[in-house]
């Protein structure tokens, strides 16, 4: 019998699992996909929100600000790239300026440190190059950027090192209350446990509604993004967006904006459209909206000083994440009132990535107090990873090569990923088993050629390291084999 089952391995599931692993418990994480972190926590704008725009008093506001404050420590403990680059929300007319002051008021009530409304001249000092049409902005210095999938993957690694078992390709089918706790039926077998942590993102309503009369419903909303080449990164510092009031679907997004990422690429996004189901990450209408917006408003952004026209030829990719919007309009966090032992981290949409670690900590602390969990004496808080080759100095690169000649062979030229790092990703605590999993761990295939050159190499290394037939190597789990046969054999 297990003590705790965590459903989902996004930021909430990973954080819950890691904090649970501080206690003497038998813990399992069930993930329906072939890898950890394949949902909303992977596909988002990589922003650590300051908390200026959440409705005061809401769980979103509370956990956003708490979560934001945890990131400095998390980034050291888990070797996660993180930087407080500040968030700038700009306004273009009087109505928007008024809305800025409301935001500033919000920020103060929510306890966001240092938020200020700036006029164009002050803005010039902060980040030169804002367009003539920009009339003022809210500046939130605690806003940051993080590599979202590294955050989640390393949180999972930390949990795994501390004894949590991860079950991939495992879909939870039903949950039933029994005398000792819960039976959880999956497509990989039936499990018995005392506590369930429902961290299943866009599917979280299904599991809650199986056990509780206090129901809610998830309205999945797509957020589409464009990715621009990292060649543009020297020209962007802060995360900059327009205040969302006059945008289509404005109420559902944090505004259309330009987000630098720690990998150097720029992310443009993101509008909100209802999805055709909880896993609908197809792109379409939203991309058109991004194109239209930036064709019309590019001059507002400081980067337009260097690239006067929206540089569409620098687009290297696009992606879509699905927001798990709850019809309660807030996060659903806590132990279910009518189903003791069932904990929700549900309806987690933006600012969920920022809030996730705080939600995990809160839920586990709550459960530990209520059910008397015993602290483990050998918890290892840190997961330390070698610096990527890409970030090493030449001297460090040579030292790494002297230890392991695989550091001398580049596989992904765009992101400078070596054979050594790809092998390490396969042999990690939760090792990569397919091409996308390698990509999320080391960035091979994430650069400007989008895997055109390196994917055959990555496929070959996967087959070699896992000792499997190259024909069975997949892109992202079962039924997504890359190759369909051998030449000369029909």
């Amino acid at each position: 019998m297990l003590d705790a089952i965590v459903i989902g391995s996004g930021i909430c599931g990973a954080s819950v699992a890691r904090f649970l692993s501080m206690y003497r418990l038998k813990i399992a994480v069930f993930e329906k996909d072939s890898d950890i972190c394949t949902g909303t926590s992977r596909s988002n704008s990589a922003t650590v929100h300051s908390g200026h725009d959440a409705l005061p008093g809401s769980l979103k506001a509370q956990f956003n600000v708490l979560g934001n404050a945890m990131f400095d420590q998390l980034s050291y403990e888990l070797s996660v790239p993180f930087k407080r680059n500040g968030t700038i929300v700009f306004a273009m007319n009087d109505t928007e300026i008024e809305a800025l002051h409301e935001l500033k008021n919000n920020a103060d009530i929510n306890g966001v440190p240092g938020a200020a409304v700036l006029d164009p001249s002050q803005l010039l000092y902060l980040e030169p190059g804002f367009g003539q049409r920009v009339r003022g902005a809210l500046y939130a210095p605690s806003g940051g950027m993080v590599c979202p999938y590294t955050l989640v993957i390393h949180t999972c690694y930390s949990a795994a090192i501390n004894g949590v078992k991860f079950h991939l390709n495992t879909t939870v089918l039903s949950i039933e209350k029994v005398a000792v706790g819960w039976t959880v039926t999956t497509d990989q077998g039936v499990f018995l446990c005392k506590y369930i942590f429902n961290c299943s993102g866009t599917h979280s309503d299904i599991f809650n509604n199986m056990v509780s009369k206090k129901q809610f419903h998830i309205i999945p909303r797509k957020g589409e993004h464009l990715i621009l080449d990292k060649r543009l990164s020297p020209y962007v510092n802060a995360t900059i967006c327009q205040i969302p009031s006059n945008l289509p679907g404005g109420g559902h997004t944090k505004g259309m904006g330009l987000m630098p990422s720690l990998a150097g690429t720029l992310i443009l996004g993101c509008p909100a459209y209802e999805a055709d189901g909880p896993d609908d990450t197809s792109t379409g209408t939203g991309l058109e909206e991004i194109f239209n917006y930036f064709r019309n408003f590019w001059d507002c952004f400081p980067i337009s000083q260097h690239f006067p026209v929206f540089p569409e030829n620098q687009i290297i990719g696009s992606f879509c994440g699905v927001r798990a919007h709850s019809d309660t309009d807030d996060f659903v966090v806590g132990e279910s009132e009518d189903a003791p032992g069932f904990f929700n981290a549900a309806g987690i949409e933006s600012p969920g990535l920022t809030a996730g670690p705080a939600i995990g900590k809160y839920l586990v602390t709550l459960a530990a107090e209520r059910y008397g969990f015993v602290k483990s004496s050998d918890f290892q808080p840190c997961y330390l990873k070698e610096k990527p080759f890409r970030d090493m100095t030449d001297k460090e690169r040579h030292v790494a090569f002297q230890k392991d000649p695989d550091y001398g062979k580049l596989v992904c030229r765009c992101e400078q990923v070596t054979v050594a790092e790809i092998k390490a990703s396969i042999h990690a605590p939760i090792g990569a088993r397919d091409i996308n999993a390698v990509k999320m761990r080391v960035r091979a295939g994430m650069g400007r050629c989008q895997g055109g050159f390196c994917s055959p190499e990555v496929l070959r290394i996967l087959a070699e390291e896992l000792n499997i037939d190259p024909l069975t190597v997949t892109q992202h789990g079962p039924h997504s084999e890359v190759l369909l046969g051998r030449i000369g054999i029909n």
Binding site: G317, F401, K409, G452, H479
Partner: protein, 461 residues
């Protein structure tokens, strides 16, 4: 990995090891470093050697020389140069054998990490680790990469089974695997056309080739030999508007497009397929040059060069597909040999400064190489290479300078898929040159080429 047991890359390499292990204290010096050991790099190296340069080093990231030619097992190579019809691999072999005969040093499995304006190259290899090399001259010969699905922002899902044509070609010809059974090809670039034929020959079904333009971006001969001869349908002014499938691709939506490249409502149709191959353009792989601050042309995507293939950084030259995307490898070899000669002269004589004039694209002309011509006293002819922006029938190419035509050349048909080449007498060049292309029948008062009526504006722009 296999490379750890390999002998040193070639003959002279063993005595390098002791030096390169102390990469910081004792960087290696070389007269000429060539980045890339494909057709351009090899031809440049051979030509520099024949012009008196002994100390040459080619840096190649793959495990052997040859570049993309290694995976081009189809014929059509060398018809101009060798008067014989070779496969890409045979064509590459002629050059790599000569590189070996001439005892030119090359490091394989070696990726260049950076170059600087003062000719310092940092590279990494599984034999030597990080290597720093000071070169008297550098030739950039890194080739190009393919435009990806991401760059096109094609809507839809992210299933397995989407390949760029070159990646599919590598899987098939170098690794021996089939990438699909029912295939749709988007774009009619040459690699896509070649792959269409190869898919059919391997027993796969090519459901359609779709091209957004009203003509192919590939060679005319490839349309005939790869599509028509194999009964593969090509649909012009059509594109993929959506990708379907979650695990593996299950189909694509095709749509005809209007003159503004927007899908025409009512023309959508779903084609079931398990593979989508993209052949939608090549991009010179210039990241090293950009990082070094070399000036690039937005038309060619390659460096801005003069008629000696020298970039705006003295002693750094560029040739082959990293300079501009070629149609035939034969011309890559010719161009690279010229770059090799120029680099040899630079090493022997140092930088020679000349006044330059500019070559300016007028009506209908895309990227031109070279962009600048040095006003030397030499008598060698100057060759201009360029592509057109659209297809022309009964076309006239007109080269003019000082509002005077220098040369006209009439062609029955010109397409963007084929490179145009014009050779000029250097003695006649003394001021900026304009190239215009127009259809002969439309040459009336209102449609005169730019250099007569609009040359002033062209200069301003």
């Amino acid at each position: 990995m296999e490379y750890t047991n390999l002998p040193p890359p070639n003959a002279r390499a063993s005595d390098e090891i002791s030096q390169t292990n102390q990469y910081e204290t004792n960087p290696r010096a070389a007269d000429l470093v060539i980045i890339g050991g494909g057709c351009a790099g090899m031809a440049a190296a051979i030509s520099a050697r024949k012009n008196g340069i002994d100390d040459i080093l080619i840096l190649e990231r793959e495990h052997s020389l040859g570049g993309v030619l290694r995976q081009c097992i189809h014929n059509g190579f060398g018809i101009h140069r060798f008067r014989s019809d070779l496969t890409g691999t045979e064509y590459a072999l002629r050059f790599s054998e000569e590189v070996d005969c001439l005892n030119i040093l090359y490091y394989t499995n070696t990726s260049v990490l950076s170059i600087t304006k003062n000719h310092t190259i940092t590279a990494v290899s599984p034999h030597y680790g990080v290597i720093v090399i000071h070169a008297k001259a550098i030739i950039l010969a890194m080739g190009c990469r393919e435009r990806s699905r991401g760059a096109l922002s094609i809507p839809g899902t992210r299933p397995a089974g989407i390949f760029s044509a070159g990646t599919a070609q590598r899987y098939m010809n170098l690794e021996g695997y089939k990438v699909g059974r029912k295939i749709v090809i988007l774009g009619s670039g040459d690699i896509g056309l070649i792959m269409a034929r190869e898919f059919v020959m391997e027993g796969c079904e090519v459901k359609a080739v779709v091209e957004i333009m009203p003509y192919s971006s590939g060679l005319i001969r490839n349309i005939q030999q790869c599509l028509t001869d194999f009964d593969i349908p090509i649909h012009y002014r059509t594109t993929v508007t959506r990708i379907e499938g979650t695990d593996r691709i299950t189909g694509v939506w095709l749509s005809q497009i209007d003159t503004a490249n927007r899908p025409i409502a009512g023309t959508e149709r779903l084609i079931a397929c398990d593979t989508l191959v993209l052949s939608v353009g090549l991009i010179p792989e210039n990241e090293l040059g950009i990082a070094a601050g070399i000036e690039l042309s937005s038309d060619t995507g390659g460096a801005v060069v003069d008629d000696s293939y020298q970039t705006d950084v003295p002693g750094i030259f560029a040739c082959g597909n990293v300079l501009h995307v070629h149609d035939l490898v034969d011309y890559v070899s010719t161009e690279s040999e010229a770059a090799g000669i120029s680099a040899a002269k630079y090493i022997q004589n140092g930088f020679e400064s000349y006044p330059v004039i500019h070559v300016i694209a007028g009506l209908g002309v895309g990227g031109i190489i070279p962009q600048n011509i040095r006003l030397t006293k030499m008598s060698d002819p100057v060759t201009l290479q360029f592509r057109t922006k659209q297809r022309f029938k009964d076309a006239r190419i007109q080269i003019s300078s000082n509002v005077q035509p220098l040369l006209v050349s009439d062609r029955k048909i010109i397409t963007p898929g084929e490179m145009c080449e014009i050779t000029l007498d250097r003695a006649k060049i003394n001021s900026d040159i304009y190239i215009d292309i127009f259809e002969n029948k439309r040459t009336d008062e209102n449609n005169a080429p730019s250099n007569y009526k609009f040359s002033a504006e062209v200069i301003v722009s």
